[in-house]
């Protein structure tokens, strides 16, 4: 008895110990699972924060501050005369020296750190001449000096770094004479001048006292080609700028903008009314493609030449960007040699930093009343120098690492240099610095959706109906073989699928487009025919076979369908498409058949997402309670009626999430699209051309993107967009799934 009592007590103790152990394990599991969940949440959060951190500098915009005024003393004139003011302003790329051309023909070099005079240099050809005006080219510091006796003297300032112990210590200054040209035989003074060199050709343009505009180009062999042009009577030239060595832009006091082509011969190409006020400043940006125009009211705009219609051979000068106005007349414009930024300065001393492509004003500094004579963006884009009328030099320190970025540039239409109109374009890299980067994400988002759409179009019917058939109609023993087989498909690395699709499938499909399209129609037709045929079989014969054996009839019929499609392809092509589908496509519909196209991607990427959609759908079908279908069958519904009316609706939440997970997989898929499409950023739904997806674009471009540059950060932003897309789709999918599940819970 006592033994029994003891036994019970011991058993209770043992049991409670076991329960305790189980509870401990339970708690441990709870902790581990919670921890795992938290790690996932933090992981996702970390990725999100990382992307945000990499893209954040894009949104910070430009920073800048005034460093105050540096007084630049004018060196005493040797003949004791009064100097009226410097004519040009320049600096070296390290901002160690500043230089000015004084109006007695001397070049004065100052130390930038304290404004003290370092050197004075002269050009022999300027000896005895009185300079009236001068210009400095945007790149390479080509200086033209116009004189009071109708000559233009050309020179170049060069700085050469000197190192000691691997550190930059000083610059050697060199002033090279580049020749002198007699522009006016009548020796009238030069009013305005502009000069540039390109590939061994020197081009000079100048306005003489009479109002004549003289251009001179000097070739390799030192032959000078001169020509004289004029603006309309009643107008007078107020601004002049060469667009590299190819064109000459002139602004007048009546607000007209003239453009002369300089090669092969001088020809007036256009005369546009640019402003109701006189044009007061004119310059080109880096690359010489855009003309930057400022007028007496303070308005600033950018113009370039383009074909307005694709078939045009003539270029028209168009106003592409209008910037917010300056508070007074624009007196000077200075371009950047790094990108498409430029600085404008006005008669009230205000200075603004702007960017041509984005049309944005990045920074603006108010003036102190003194008019600005010259403005200069330093070569490394780290400062602005503005020389005031009283001789002082105001310096600004700036940092503008991502001037080309704006939301409008990413998602809006932008009018790029040389384009007929504003467009969505992705073309991020060029061979040279003067390339205008084009960062529209629209073609990439479009390409992602396009690829996903075609992949799902191919995959969803096959996967979902396949799953329905396998789970409802097929004998469990067959199902046990089918499901793992399909799941093995998922084990194929996508790079292999992409490789096969790009190099093998694409060229095979190209030569058999019509059979492939015919198959899309014929395969379902023959399949249906097979089912009807099966239905006609005597009932006794059918009952003796396992459910699912009908496949033995249907599959050969579908293969027959494929053979018919292949066999009849050429005849179909001859009958419907004049014997050549691709030609017909081009002529009748205006579509181009590309070898690497959405059809190939749809099939390849569809192949990659079928297993995942199939497996999840099949699980959803299988988890429909057996009593439901049993009841339906018992009440006399056929298997088909049961499948469509009972199983499908009950499983719909699971199917929906299967499709959404497939969608997420296709959106993020990289290697297949990378290899099977040409990565062409086209905005076109046609199934016969390719696409460039966000993910493939990141994979293609991230190795080349200079670390920390705009492209690098925009690619991270593209990753963020991709993340946001899948996040949104998954969230919506989950919400819909919950709602559907709620609805069918009652069953």
């Amino acid at each position: 008895m006592s033994q029994a009592v003891l036994g019970v007590r011991e058993r209770v103790q043992a049991a409670s110990a076991r329960i305790k152990g189980m509870k401990r394990a339970d708690r441990l599991a709870t902790v581990i699972i919670t921890l795992g969940g938290l790690i996932v949440v933090f992981g996702v959060l970390f990725i999100f924060l990382f992307i945000l951190g990499e893209t954040w500098p894009l949104f910070r915009g430009a920073q800048g501050r005034s460093l105050g005024v540096l007084p630049l003393s004018l060196p005493p004139s040797p003949d004791g005369g009064r100097l009226a003011g410097p004519l040009v302003l320049g600096t070296d790329e390290y901002q160690m020296y500043l230089y000015q051309l004084l109006d007695d023909g001397r070049f004065a070099f100052y130390r930038a750190r304290d404004g003290s005079l370092a050197r004075e240099l002269t050009v022999p050809a300027l000896a005895g001449a009185r300079p009236t005006v001068a210009s400095r080219s945007l790149e390479h510091d080509f200086i033209a000096v116009g004189t009071a006796d109708g000559r233009v003297v050309l020179a170049q300032v060069r700085f050469r770094p000197r190192y000691a112990e691997a550190a930059l210590v000083d610059l050697e200054i060199e002033l090279r004479e580049r020749g002198a040209i007699e522009l006016d035989p009548a020796r009238r003074p030069i009013r305005l001048v502009s000069y540039d060199e390109h590939e061994g050709q020197k081009v000079v343009a100048a306005v003489l006292g009479s109002g004549d505009i003289v251009t001179a180009s000097v070739g390799d062999d030192e032959t000078v080609r001169r020509s004289t042009v004029r603006v309309e009577p009643g107008e007078s030239v107020t601004a002049l700028a060469l667009a590299r060595t190819e064109g000459l832009a002139v602004g007048t006091d009546r607000g007209f903008l003239y453009y002369w082509e300089l090669s092969p011969e001088v020809r007036l190409a256009s005369r546009n009314p640019a402003s109701p006020a006189p044009l007061t400043a004119l310059a080109t940006n880096l690359g010489g493609l855009s003309l930057l125009v400022g007028d007496a009211r303070g308005a600033v705009s950018a113009w370039f030449r383009t074909r307005l219609q694709d078939r045009d051979t003539q270029l028209a000068l168009v106003q592409a960007h209008v910037f917010p106005s300056q508070s007074a007349a624009v007196t000077a414009i200075g371009g950047s040699v790094r990108d498409k930024s430029f600085a404008t300065a006005a008669a009230d001393g205000s200075v603004a930093l702007r960017h041509t492509t984005s049309g944005r004003t990045l920074l603006s500094f108010p003036g102190a009343g003194q008019p600005v004579r010259q403005v200069l963006l330093t070569p490394k884009m780290d400062g602005i120098l503005s020389r005031l009328a009283d001789g002082g030099l105001r310096r600004y320190q700036i940092s503008s690492p991502h001037p080309e970025f704006s939301w409008a540039a990413l998602f809006g239409r932008v009018w790029y240099e040389g384009y007929p109109s504003a467009e969505y374009v992705w073309q991020s890299t060029g061979g040279t610095d003067d390339f205008e980067a084009k960062f529209s994400l629209v073609p990439l988002v479009f390409g992602t959706l396009k690829g996903t759409f075609y992949a799902l179009l191919f995959a969803v019917p096959i996967a979902v109906f396949g799953a329905l058939y396998t789970s409802v109609f097929v004998h469990p023993s067959i199902k046990a073989k089918v499901k793992p087989t399909v799941e093995i498909m998922a084990a194929l690395p996508s790079v292999v699928i992409g490789f096969v699709a790009g190099l093998w499938l694409a060229s095979r499909i190209e030569t058999r487009v019509v059979p492939v399209l015919a198959m899309l129609v014929l395969l379902p037709l023959f399949g249906t025919a097979g089912m009807l045929l099966w239905d006609r079989l005597p009932r006794r014969a059918r009952d003796r076979l396992k459910p699912g054996t009908e496949i033995l009839l249907i599959v050969p019929l579908m293969l027959l369908g494929a053979l018919v499609a292949i066999g009849s392809g050429p005849r179909l092509e001859a009958a419907l498409f004049d014997g050549d589908f691709k030609l017909w496509l081009n002529q009748a519909l205006g579509l181009v058949y590309d070898q690497r196209n959405s059809l190939v991607v749809g099939i390849a990427m569809g192949f990659a997402v079928i297993p995942i959609i199939f497996t999840i759908s099949e699980d959803a079908f299988s988890s429909v309670p057996a009593h439901l279908s049993a009841a339906s069958l018992a009440l006399g519904a056929s298997r088909w009626q049961t499948a469509v009316r009972v199983v499908l609706p009950t499983a719909s939440p699971g199917i929906f999430s299967a499709i959404m997970i497939g969608f997420g997989r296709a959106v993020g898929e990289t290697m297949i699209v990378l290899m099977a499409t040409g990565n062409t950023p086209v905005l076109d739904w046609s199934v016969f051309n390719g696409m460039r997806t966000l993910s493939a674009n990141i994979a293609v471009e991230i190795p080349e993107a200079p670390h920390g540059a705009t492209l690098y950060r925009v690619l991270f932003l593209a990753g963020g967009v991709l993340f946001a897309m899948t996040f949104a789709v998954n969230t919506i999918a989950e919400l819909v799934r919950q709602r559907l599940r709620e609805r069918y819970r009652a069953i």
Binding site: P161, Y163, A164, A166, A167, L168, T306, R307, D310, R311, T313, L315, V337, R338, K380, Y416, G418, Y419, V425, Q427, S428, T429, G430, G431, T432, D433, D434, F435, K438, P443, L503, A506, S507, E510, K582, L583, N586, Q587, V592, Y593, D594, Q595, R596, L674, T677, G678, N679, T680, P681, V682, L683, N689, G690, V700, E701, P703, E704, A705, P706, A709
Partner: protein, 320 residues
């Protein structure tokens, strides 16, 4: 059978002989002198075009100095400057010159500019399928084919008929192939053929020079640009001329060196060399090998074109 093989052997020998006669390394280039005390490891990151070349030079170098280790990575010219800046590579092979912004970034870290060495010449070819009857193009036509901004102001070309082909070809649209934007080839072609215009969106960007050629081989109506060293029997390189009526050239050595072929360029290696200091002996010896007769033989073997003795002399002077 034997005689048949003999004929093949003779023809191929003759072909090699002709090729050898056509392009030879300038006899004025001195041979490589082996130095002592060279050891360590070499890492090179940069151009995909020069990948093979770097590997071949590396091989020749290791043959001379067996206890060296060499690692060559080629994903595109744009990958060279970051690797040089980070110090993760001693050599940055590039199929284009560095851009000012890239030099800026280098200078920001080191205070001086990287040293540029010209290693050999390359010519870009415009390829069409071997069945294509077209033989030549002007650069204006090339621009009109590949560019949407058409800086050379030609009429847009979309079908082969617009290039004068007849019959079956006349109404066929062109299928465009090109390199991906990380490559120097992409930038060079853009600058020199398109005058810095923009590529059409329909140019299929291929990840390597060989896959452009592969694409054109597989696509009867394809046309693409790639290095001349990648020519195969499946494609045809077109003769090019600057303008209509100019001299069409297929990119032979004489034409490239004489500046008659419009699309030629130097291939560079960039190294980090502090001014006033001598180069690391390992780096210096490697570059000396590249600029020797042996190194230039390798260039020839890989389908590129060797430098003239004069250029070699200038480049060698930079190493001192």
């Amino acid at each position: 059978m034997r005689s048949f093989l003999g004929v093949i052997a003779a023809t191929s020998l003759a072909a090699t002989a002709v090729q050898a006669q056509a392009v030879k390394v300038d006899p004025g280039i001195p041979g490589y002198q082996k130095a002592s005390g060279v050891s360590g490891s070499i890492t090179s990151v940069g151009s995909d075009t020069m990948n093979n070349l770097m590997a071949l030079w590396g091989e020749a170098f290791v043959k001379l100095y067996p206890n060296l280790k060499i690692q060559v990575e080629g994903k595109g010219s744009t990958t060279a400057p970051p690797a040089l800046i980070a110090g993760s590579a001693q050599f940055g092979p590039m199929s284009r010159a560095m851009k000012a912004t890239e030099i800026d970034q280098f200078e920001q870290k080191y205070g001086y500019k990287p040293l540029q060495i010209r290693t050999c010449l390359d010519a870009l070819a415009v390829y069409v399928n071997k069945d294509n009857p077209l033989d030549k193009l002007t650069l204006q036509q090339v621009d009109a084919i590949f560019s949407k901004t058409r800086k050379r102001s030609g009429k847009a070309i979309a079908t082969w008929g617009q290039l004068g082909l007849t019959g079956d070809w006349a109404n066929r649209p062109l299928s465009l192939y090109g390199r991906n934007s990380a490559s120097g080839t992409y930038g060079f072609f853009k600058e020199h053929s398109l005058l810095n215009g923009d590529y059409k969106d329909t140019v299929k960007e291929q990840p390597g020079s060989a896959s452009v050629v592969q694409g054109v081989t597989e696509d009867r109506f394809g046309i693409g640009y790639s290095g001349i060293g990648y020519r195969t029997s499946g494609v045809k390189a077109l003769a090019l001329a600057e303008k209509e009526g100019g001299n069409f050239s297929t990119g032979s050595y004489e034409d490239v060196v004489g500046g008659k072929y419009p699309l030629n360029r130097y291939l560079y290696i960039y190294v980090n060399r502090a001014p006033g200091k001598s180069l690391d002996p390992l780096v210096k010896e490697f570059l000396k090998l590249v600029l020797s007769k042996e190194g230039q033989d390798v260039v020839l073997k890989d389908g590129y074109l060797p430098l003239s003795a004069e250029t070699v002399k200038q480049e060698l002077a930079k190493l001192e």
